[in-house]
Symmetry: C2
Subunit: 345 residues, 2 copies
């Protein structure tokens, strides 16, 4: 397995990307290709006390870098020599099995769609982060790539999410639910009501296990293995979870710092608190895969450090082993619906 | 001030409603009218060791009760003798200044709109819960009453929320933000982009202080005093906050119960943890006001206990003092926009 890494994307690039890759190289049975400015990559390695590239790691040169303010739509054309575009081209040309980048989300999605292409029959690629929940973890699809969707898009997201949960994360028979503002099938807007019927049909055919509507409250409580949402409300769910966890962590810190006694109390609970913080930490989750693309493309958090990058690379390896493309191809008939059922039509 | 209370609505009615009213009567300078089956109300009072009605409390008889499965659209007609409908009629007939119910949300919204009516010029009533945040509290409007909205609805929600925060909650110059998936004015769907421009205009006229778009992550972190959203994504935000807080509280409990040492640690932090739990507890917030109705109507949580009911009654009193109707009337021109700017038109 060969994983291609955008060495120049992200707030802490190239250092975090490179030290993350070094961590991953020790643990994974995979070759890693760092794409970016060769000289800067070697300097970063030197800063970390390495005179040469570690075993199993290569460098592919790319002199340009995609900036955060670049228009995603023009990146492929205007930044053709950037680490992101060069890396994605290598993936498309089968010079690697997966691509990891901490660069601009919009640019990565647009470039991956243009260069690596969508799976046959798939209308839109979606972002599918893995969230920590009371019962383990759950795949949320979409969380921002598609603010406006049709019932057909959501039908496909449901399949992509289910196949990903099953094949890459090892969930036996994932329960797929539709994010809604109530559990009854009449709840929500036309979009949810139409999607509900499509997902019900897919469930009856045995393509997915459809668990009905889920309210946002039950997502962190572990009510589903896969949560299907339009990109707007999925993004609201993801970001609210992040913000609430941060808010509560801050408040808890305040509680622990109140007095010498509470500081001692916190010390007694240190191990458990640390584990809980780690569970809620985006860095442990790794990155967000774009599902619907022919090959695994993983978006690492923009502010990723070495640990986060290493986890994103591990996630890329899981996705390669999952071989989502094969799962999608086996069910292409069921997940393509006639155009007239589009939302609003 | 006279506050009318639906004694029969909610999971724990009539007992919780009545003991909540008894608590509120001790603290508030207001007359309280309990609407419901007279005999059951008196029995509930007896169960709480009271032979007669406490001072300042009255009973208005209503023999029927709205059930959770009743169709909201037909409640006013089919349940005309219910405690909810009778209570709202009393409010409309000026036999009280506010109404509190823990009954069906949909029924309460439909009946309040039909019986108590919307404020002149206001297109839709909205649910506006008050959320705990890192910087205090924030009003979220809407959170589920209107799954589908137009930019004009959102413009009006922004004003209703701002006036409520200012007049009822005492926030001097509330910062009003639009919930979106990014902060730039190009983010989101047409709905958000059109609404952004309307809110910007309202800000320039000085009707509200518009703080631009807000991402869901920054809502619990205290980024705004008023968050404007369509009912669908507002509901997702509210419920995700609830679910994440519950998830983390459960996890934290697990940490504290790990060993005798962690149990001791938890004991040392008991007071602070208790205060934090109370801060995140829906019962402390009280109920959710329906803004846009001519008089204050407060929805208490269906599973309210006495403390939650008492807080909802206190919130009703705050709303009466806030006199939202007067604020809206003063700005009627600014918050009514021509129909052609409706979403999708």
């Amino acid at each position: 397995m060969r994983i291609i890494i955008d060495a120049m994307g992200g707030d802490n690039a190239p250092d975090a990307m490179i030290s993350g890759a070094v961590l991953a190289a020790r643990e994974l049975d995979a070759e890693l290709v760092l794409v970016g400015r060769g000289a800067e990559i070697l300097q970063a390695l030197e800063r970390q006390g390495m005179a040469t590239l570690p075993k199993g790691m290569e460098v592919a040169n790319a002199e340009d870098v995609v900036e955060m303010h670049d228009d995603p739509a023009t990146v492929v054309r205007k930044r053709r020599d950037s680490s992101m575009v060069v890396g994605l081209r290598m993936l498309a040309e089968e010079k690697g099995d997966a691509f990891v980048s901490a660069g601009s989300t919009g640019a990565l999605l647009a470039a991956a769609t243009l260069i690596v292409k969508r799976l046959p029959g798939i209308r839109r690629a979606a972002m599918a982060p893995v969230l920590p929940t009371a019962s383990g973890r759950c795949v949320l699809i979409d969380c921002g790539a598609n603010a406006e969707v049709t019932p057909e898009f959501l039908l496909q997201f449901a399949c992509l999410g289910a196949f990903y949960a099953k094949r890459a994360l090892g969930v036996q028979d994932p329960k797929v639910c539709l994010l809604n503002i109530g559990t009854e099938d009449t709840k929500g807007t036309d979009l949810q009501r139409q999607t509900y019927r499509l997902l019900q049909g897919l469930g009856e055919k045995g393509v997915i296990r459809f668990g009905g509507n889920i309210e946002a409250r039950d997502v962190p409580l572990g009510g589903a293995d896969v949560v299907v949402a339009d990109g707007f409300s999925g993004n609201v769910l993801l970001k609210t979870m992040e913000g609430t966890a941060k808010f509560l962590t801050q408040e808890l810190k305040g509680v622990f710092l109140q007095s010498p006694l509470t500081k001692l109390g916190a010390l007694f609970c240190r191990k458990g608190i640390g584990a809980l913080k780690a569970k809620m930490d985006y860095r442990q989750v790794g990155g967000t895969p774009f599902l619907g693309i022919t090959k695994p493309v993983i978006k690492a958090h923009g502010s990723s450090d070495a640990v986060a990058v290493c986890n994103a690379i591990r996630q890329a390896a899981e996705a390669v082993r999952g071989d989502l493309a094969a799962a999608i191809e086996a069910h292409l008939d069921e997940i393509t619906v006639p155009k007239e059922s589009d939302h609003g039509a």
